[in-house]
Amino acid sequence: MKATNPKGLVLNIQHFCTHDGPGIRTNVFLKGCSLRCKWCSNPESIHPKPELGYNPRSCIGKKECGFCLGGVCPESAIFVVGPGDKVQVNWDLCTNCGACVPVCPANALSLFGREMTVDEVLDEVEQDSAFYHESGGGITVSGGECQLQPDFLAALLAEAHRRGINTAIETAFNVPWEFTEKVLPHVDLVLHDHKLTDPVRHRKWCGADNSRILANLKRAYETFPDTRFFARTPLIPGVNDDEEHVRCVLEFIRPHKNVIGYELLPYHRFGESKYGFLGRIYEMMDFSSPTPETIARLQAIIDDVRNDENASK
């Protein structure tokens, strides 16, 4: 039976990914997030509804075009300033209605997020099925926080299994447990974050504390013993790049044999241009990537502890 409902809000489908699960995978990014991590490299995934993005480098200017001006925007949010030629967006007035998008011939104006059915997503994912079979890959659903669309996600993953595609999700687990209960039965591998240990610091840097996250993680490990979990920490210099946090995570995952690994994801700034597309401020301007020495030192701690644990089994 073909599953055509429900629909989900999809941000992007990225082929030939090798960093989000085993083998060659296709990443499906869903829109909407339950946290506000200051280092987020996908700011367009945060808002739960379609939103306007504007790339001024693609704009061909008022003289050559100007189609988006002159009343297209019902809020008068698109304008040209002074002697300039490229348009600008008044983000305070923009309501993300998208009226300007179809008139832009250069795709400088676009909408992040579109509704897709389960079949539409998987028909695209399935194009690379030969690579999945050869490499042990499959589909990874990420975000944002993919579990915020539990009905769509569960249906998508169930159908993926039906089509013989291995499934993985990337999640921070900051969702009601009922969502996880619905989704995890259809997941082969759960890549999940341990961003910060202290709840007050977690709230400061990620927008909310981690009490629910830790409770969900523990419950998920125990409720789904046959599902594989892989812990990750996005390593942010001056925030969580310390031995204490790494050891706390190792201690947290130690009792659970279905947590098969723990890796560090060094902070990067690849996504900072997208803040400009959304008229937002990137709050990590003064941060740079962790040094190789820091990464090596913390990785050595992980290797030592995990090796000791494996040896004692």
Partner: protein, 384 residues
């Protein structure tokens, strides 16, 4: 003029400018002169929306005794609402999910509950849209624009610009001395996202070698030629002033390109290398210009970023007087029954421009105007 007793409020949007306390002083003295009560809302609208954050209360009663010696001081007695937008207020719900809520209706109700008849909001031009939306919902508001870059359309002189200009000119002079002693080219980035007034006027004041600004896309080859001419004439150092919004005529060939595959995987949809002009990053322009001039001139360069330093400090007498005038004029506007307007200084008068006409405008430097001609006459390269 109506003189019945009324109660008004004043608040400040995100970002400092020299003279904010002068604005408070002007508004308080004018309001009290009419027999009105005036309160300050702390940190933009946060004092009303999040009163629990303030042990002394989210509103501050303002009387002449509090502001008597305030006009000449830096900072802002009421705080400024960094990114305070009542239409997108970040909250954590019962499920621990972070979301942005529209609390504008609630804000209106709180304003009414506090018996506030009108609000004077001191905001950057970019935030006028928020006040326009609040006005359309029923908030009685008079706005005072603040911009140390002097880029407010309709206003000849924004308060804060004179103080910032003085500071920047002093810093440029110090940079010149440092460049002379080390025989290098100093490249100083100053504020000026949309308009180059600060870069141009400060550059003229110190007779810089080059001034680059948003209104005139630059060709660094032309700047390098000008600098080389100076070196041939016996000079051993240089000074280049760059507004943060200045753009090259063409994308620099040296802009780095990150492996597209890695970037696409880790952040799908991201574009541009570190030389991308999609976002505004303090220091970016200074770095790029310094590096490219070094390549073109074979002279060592060093970038320097004044950034937000320029916005701090006590106001000059000019800005003190302007701030007081703006504050008093806003009260006068309310007394005259005006609503949904922006105060604009059009010498020698103060005018009131409807908010709908004030948004989406920038007062840019006229490229054929007097200041640009002066710069050219002084031999300052504008990169064109």
């Amino acid at each position: 003029m109506k003189t019945e007793t009324r109660r008004i409020a004043i608040n400040f949007g995100g970002g400092y400018a020299p003279g904010l306390n002068a604005v408070v002083t002007g508004a308080v003295l004018a309001a009290r002169g009419l027999g009105w009560d005036i309160v300050g809302i702390r940190d933009g609208f946060d004092g009303l929306l999040f009163p629990d954050r303030y042990p002394e209360g989210g509103l501050m009663g303002l009387v002449p005794g509090i502001v008597r010696n305030l006009a000449g001081t830096g900072g802002c007695i009421l705080g400024t609402g960094a990114r305070s937008d009542p239409f997108h207020v970040r909250s954590v719900n019962a499920d621990n999910i972070v979301e942005e809520l529209d609390r504008s209706d609630e804000l209106l109700a709180l304003v009414q509950k506090e018996d506030i008849d009108a609000v004077i909001s001191v905001v950057s031009p970019g935030a006028l849209g928020i006040l326009l939306k609040m006005h359309r919902k029923g908030l009685k508001t008079v706005c005072i624009p603040k911009s140390v870059e002097n880029d407010v359309e309709g206003t000849m002189l924004s308060f804060g610009f004179n103080s910032t200009l003085s500071f920047v000119a002093e810093m440029l002079e110090r940079t010149r001395q440092a460049a002379q002693s080390s025989q290098k080219i100093g490249v100083v980035e100053v504020l000026g996202k949309h308009a180059g007034w600060l870069a141009l006027q400060a550059g003229i004041a110190v007779c810089a070698d080059a001034v680059l600004m948003p209104e005139i896309p630059y060709d660094l080859g032309k700047v390098a030629t000008a600098l080389q001419g100076n070196f041939k004439a016996g000079r051993t150092s240089g000074l280049v002033v760059v507004a943060e919004g200045a753009r090259p005529l063409a994308e620099p060939a040296t802009a780095s390109r990150v492996d597209a595959g890695v970037k696409a995987t880790l952040s799908p949809g991201a574009t541009g290398g570190s030389g991308s002009h999609v976002i505004d990053r303090s220091g970016r322009v200074a770095e790029e210009v310094a590096l490219e001039l070094q390549r073109l001139t074979d002279r060592e360069t060093y970038p320097l970023v004044l950034g937000q330093l320029a916005k701090a400090g006590a106001p000059t007498v000019v800005d003190r007087q302007l701030g007081l005038s703006y504050g008093a004029a806003a009260v006068r506007a309310i007394a005259e029954g005006r609503d949904g307007v922006m105060v604009a200084f059009q010498a020698p008068d103060v005018k009131f421009i409807p908010l709908a006409e004030a948004i989406n405008r920038v007062r840019a430097v006229p490229v054929e105007g007097g200041f640009v001609q002066t710069a050219r006459c002084l031999g300052i390269s504008l990169g064109d």
